[in-house]
């Protein structure tokens, strides 16, 4: 497995040399959504606290670094962290309210959706950040402003983000923090009885997750150069974030990456074929069907299933 991972990494590092610009773009989306999925995975996958409002963190991170860059000239390399921190503040608020008031399952989902929607509506009605018109960043190509002439730089940045998040998740999994999160997902009361401060660990998971997602917001802003409240805070983005780890295998290190390699190209393809005019909803229909299929037939996600297959085919 280790050799396989190293080989895959090497291929990904060398790939931009042979890919055309469009294929590079597809890979950027794969890495970026894998990164967001990985961030979600900490709280949604490992701790089992289903957040369907992670777009809020992307949005806060994106608007923060974009406004800081445009208004104050602050480099997004720092704005990224500021955005992450602000997202973590929101994550703390949502987590505190949700966990302190004991909202579980469905109620927690509703809480996260409600917060994301509140953020969207506030952004929509705040003229200082462009309101409904959106917020735009002028392209200068200045790397210090997180802007690159060459698409391949974004490729490496996105790859880096994905690897960092994956490293963090792998590290969490190997430590007490991860063991506790998994146990919390399985049975919270039993955890409490075994001396696990479930509130504290769920909060930590939420904070780390929202921070990373907020950092991702900066990439979103400076890759697309325009922010629309409906797309950056909207439920569709939250669904994009949630669906990859779930399809790939929530609560596994490889799940979000696998999920993104499966789904991002699919989403891209359906955008090309159905993206125009009357068919704009088609790829979300496909997501819906896929979600239903995964729940019914592959509730653990694709990665655990693949792993079982691998172990069966390659016995040692």
């Amino acid at each position: 497995m280790r050799w396989l991972a190293a080989a895959a990494l090497l291929v990904l590092l060398l790939l931009p040399a042979v890919l055309n610009s469009y294929a590079v773009t597809v890979f950027i989306f794969i890495f970026f959504y894998a990164f967001l999925g990985q961030a979600w995975n900490i709280v949604g996958g490992y701790a089992g606290q289903l957040s369907v409002g992670h777009a809020a963190f992307v949005g806060i991170g994106a608007y923060t670094s974009a406004v800081l860059s445009v208004q104050a000239g602050l480099t997004p390399w720092i704005g990224m962290l500021v955005g992450g921190l602000l997202s973590a503040v929101l994550g703390t608020v949502v987590g505190y309210l949700g966990f302190r008031f004991g909202l579980r399952g469905f109620y927690f989902v509703l809480l996260t959706v409600a917060f994301a929607e509140v953020c969207r509506i506030v952004a929509l009605n705040t003229d200082a950040v462009g309101g409904a018109l959106g917020y735009y960043i002028t392209f200068t190509g200045d790397p210090w402003q997180f802007q690159f002439q060459d698409n391949r730089v974004y490729y490496y940045v996105a790859l880096g983000l994905m690897l960092i998040a994956t490293g963090i998740v792998a590290g969490i999994e190997r430590r007490r923090f991860g063991a506790y999160l998994i146990a919390i997902r399985e049975d919270e009361s039993a955890c409490e009885a075994l001396g696990v401060n479930t509130f504290r660990y769920k909060m930590l998971a939420m904070i780390v997750s929202s921070f990373l997602t907020g950092v991702g917001g900066t990439f979103y802003a400076f890759y697309l150069f325009s922010l629309q409240p409906g797309s950056v805070f909207g439920i569709p983005l939250s669904v994009e974030i949630v669906i990859r780890p779930i399809v790939g295998g929530a609560g596994t290190v490889m799940g979000p990456i696998l999920g993104s390699f499966i789904l991002s190209p699919l989403a891209e393809a359906s955008r090309i074929y159905f993206g125009q005019g009357d068919w704009s909803g088609a790829h979300l229909i496909a997501y819906g069907l896929l979600l239903i299929a995964v729940v019914l037939f592959l509730p653990q996600g694709a990665y655990p299933a693949l792993r079982r297959l691998w172990l069966k085919l390659a016995p040692r």
Partner: protein
Amino acid sequence: MAVGLTLIFGVMRVVNFAHGDMMVWGMYLAWILSTRAGIDPYVGFIACAGALFVMGWVTQRLLVDRIVDAPHEMQILLMLGVALVLENAALVAFGPDPQRVRSPLRAATFWLGPVFVDVARLVTFALAMVLTLALYLFLTRTDLGRTMRAAADNAYGALVIGTDVRRVYAAAFGIGAACVGAAGALVSPILPFHPAGGLSLSVASFNIVIIGGMGSLPGAFLGGLLVSVAESLGAVFLSPSMKELVSFSLLIAILLFRPAGLFGKTAA
């Protein structure tokens, strides 16, 4: 429409995320009937209820049934999937522009003493009342209705005494969806609708149901009144665009402070 949600949740403890989207479908069906066949929505609502009953029944039998015993998270994800499919199927089929069903009653208004009465609203309200009452009688007076309430209290117990719980669930889901379809058709002359509107309808009905208490019919009804009052007050004092904000803030407040509702049984 909250009545439909509370029935589904109350009986099966399955949360229907697709609720608002089902309502949107009810509205579009009323629109089709009215534009293609010239059937007034105040008559067509019966057909809409029938169609949605089938939709609910099938959803239950084909999908939810397989995972009734699975963790709650799985059900949430499943219904999220159904909601995505329904919403975007409506988008593909009908386009993103808002629609409104024309009814001859729409133009009719009269003064009742000092009060200005809009006949369409009056008829909608009256029919909604009748439907709620009918559902209430169905649940308390008929065998199937009583069985549903029994299954809601204790699915295992109902199974032991020989109830076909799966059939009861499917009926509950179907009737819940039918209520939503009827409600959608009934408000279609009053409320403009578009495919993306499902979510805010869902949120409105969650507000109503959670305030009233999950699984309580009178609760859902009173909750409906409370929420509409709160939202109209919000619309008066804030700009109309902030009305949505009010309903989401309301949802957050409700979630935090009244998880079991004003009339519901306390959550386990």
